[in-house]
Amino acid sequence: MQQCQICGKKQANVHLKQVLDGETLELFLCEDCAEKGGLRVDPGLGMAEFVLGLTSAKDNKEKRRREEDISCPSCHMRRADFKKTSRLGCPGCYDAFAADLAPMLAEMHRGVVHVGKSPRGAPCREDIGALRKALAAAVAAQNFEEAARLRDLIRAATAGGAEAGAVSK
């Protein structure tokens, strides 16, 4: 019988497993220690906080701070400026804040990939093959936000079917 990994005394009947940044964390706890750690025993609730609380709250805070500090290399708009005004600083911001924009665009619009007019001499839309390659690279680099964005792009481009393929020059 597995013992609680925190008190080392009681029987562990809470099994906690979470994949975080590609690392699998596993903990066996007794109910008392689980509750002390703030874990509600309702399935699926509070797990993330619990694990983060036990492991590296500091690292996590730092990571979050780094994210807040992202700024656009072209116009120096900070992520916080964008969050405040909901307006971007320059065309380059679409790359700088791509991770924030992806879910917003999906919510606002009927699709996530442009279909329609393009300016004179505009580059052709990256073909789906190139998107797939980029997706594989993002997954390998564990850049899951980017991977999710690319996955959505591929999904939209393939679901759009004939229309999506036909229009761009």
Binding site: S74, C75, M77, T85, S86, R87, L88, G89, C90, P91, G92, Y94, L101, M104, L105, M108, H109, R110, G111, V112, V113, H114, V115, G116, K117, S118, P119, R120, A122, P123, C124, R125, E126, L153, A156, G160, E163, V167, S168
Partner: protein, 356 residues
């Protein structure tokens, strides 16, 4: 052409076009930005000035814009701004802009380009009646010509890049102004409005963002700009507007069949107030003229056309009223002048049909 002269002109979107009984006007606007340049809200004043000149130069080379005027926003007074707003040539946001922004206006007022509003360029074509396809073709052609002289910000996956992510992609916002006075009288107006918002369409009043649907005057426009071609966006909006027209036509027919006396009563009351009141606010003017407009469509009124009423709807707005008199008026004075002006215009207008 200076702004003052506009008052003397009939506004093109108020003359008569197709489906004018119900559709007042159609408008298509495109949001465009220049590559590698900060958007107007983030750019410095000098940068905005420089960009303004570049865009004006580029527009000077566009055939369709020969004879257009370039109005520097810094040089316009409050009344002139108000007038342009009421003519739907600039947005409320743009009316508050000072230096570093300009309006480029074609001689016939159908094409208006705001430089440095939220985006570097906001190009619009506006015309009377239901003509989305036509206005789209018109602004598309101007856009393509400008594109030859400027480098637009564009991404193959996200389309035309705009300051607000709500406009990215095609950058296209198409809107149709409909007059749903019949649905208001039959009490179905709110239900129809709710249906429209469920269809993910933006619904606004006569004077754009934030304005209310006075007199059943409603602007319906697309919200999504990404993931669908311009043609698809226009076709969907057109389909919905055509449904609205059918609903409104049915409401008007029902009124005439089942409650003719109620319709006649409403129109008679509106006309009586418009002809005899001493003070009329601009809001009341829109409400009453809207009912009169319905009366004209239902042939209940003699002596004025719908186009004539459309014009009254515009020239009774505060900016137009004051510009016509050549000075600023306080709101009491305006209400007085408005009442006088309307009474004069409607002197020979009568109810076409005797009660009974």
């Amino acid at each position: 052409m200076i702004v003052n002269d506009l008052v003397k002109h009939q506004n093109p979107w108020l003359s008569l076009g197709r489906e004018t009984g119900i559709v007042v006007s159609s408008r298509v606007r495109l949001a465009r930005n220049l590559k590698d340049r900060a958007f107007p809200g983030w750019a410095g004043e000098k940068e905005c000035d420089r960009l303004c000149k570049e865009v004006a130069d580029a527009c000077g080379k566009v055939g369709r814009l020969s004879g257009a005027v370039v109005l520097d926003m810094a040089g316009l007074d409050e009344l002139e701004r108000e007038l342009l707003k009421e003519r739907r040539l600039i947005s409320s946001e743009f009316a508050d802009r000072r230096g570093g922004s300009a309006l480029i206006l074609s001689a016939d007022e159908r094409i208006a380009i705001m430089v440095n509003e939220e985006d570097h360029l906001r190009l619009q074509a506006i015309a009377p009646g239901l003509c989305l396809e036509e206005t789209w073709r018109e602004i598309d052609a101007v856009d393509s010509e400008i594109d030859r002289h400027l480098n637009y910000a564009y991404s193959p996956t996200l389309g035309y890049l705009t300051a607000c992510p709500t406009n990215v992609g095609t950058g296209l916002r198409a809107s149709v102004m409909v007059h749903l006075a019949g649905l208001r009288l039959t009490g179905d107006f709110d239900r129809v409005m709710k249906g429209l918002t469920r269809l993910n369409l933006a619904v606004r009043g006569l004077f754009g963002e934030g304005s209310e649907a006075f007199g059943g005057m409603v602007q319906v426009s697309n919200q999504s700009t990404l993931g669908e071609s311009e043609q698809a966006i226009l076709a969907r909006l057109l389909g919905i507007v055509q449904d609205l027209i059918v609903h409104e036509r049915n409401a008007r027919a029902r009124l005439m069949e089942k409650s003719r006396i109620v319709a006649l009563d409403q129109v008679s009351r509106a006309l009586a107030i418009l002809k005899h009141a001493m003070l009329i606010s601009s809001m009341e003017a829109v409400e009453l003229l809207s009912i009169l407009r319905l009366g004209a469509d239902l042939k209940l009124v003699d002596g004025i056309s719908e186009a004539g009423i459309n014009e009254l709807l515009l020239v009774t707005q505060p900016g137009h009223l004051q510009m016509r008199l050549g000075r600023k008026l306080d709101s009491k004075e305006r209400d007085r002048m408005r009442a006088e002006f309307v009474a004069g215009r409607l002197r020979h207008v009568e109810i076409a049909e005797q009660r009974g």
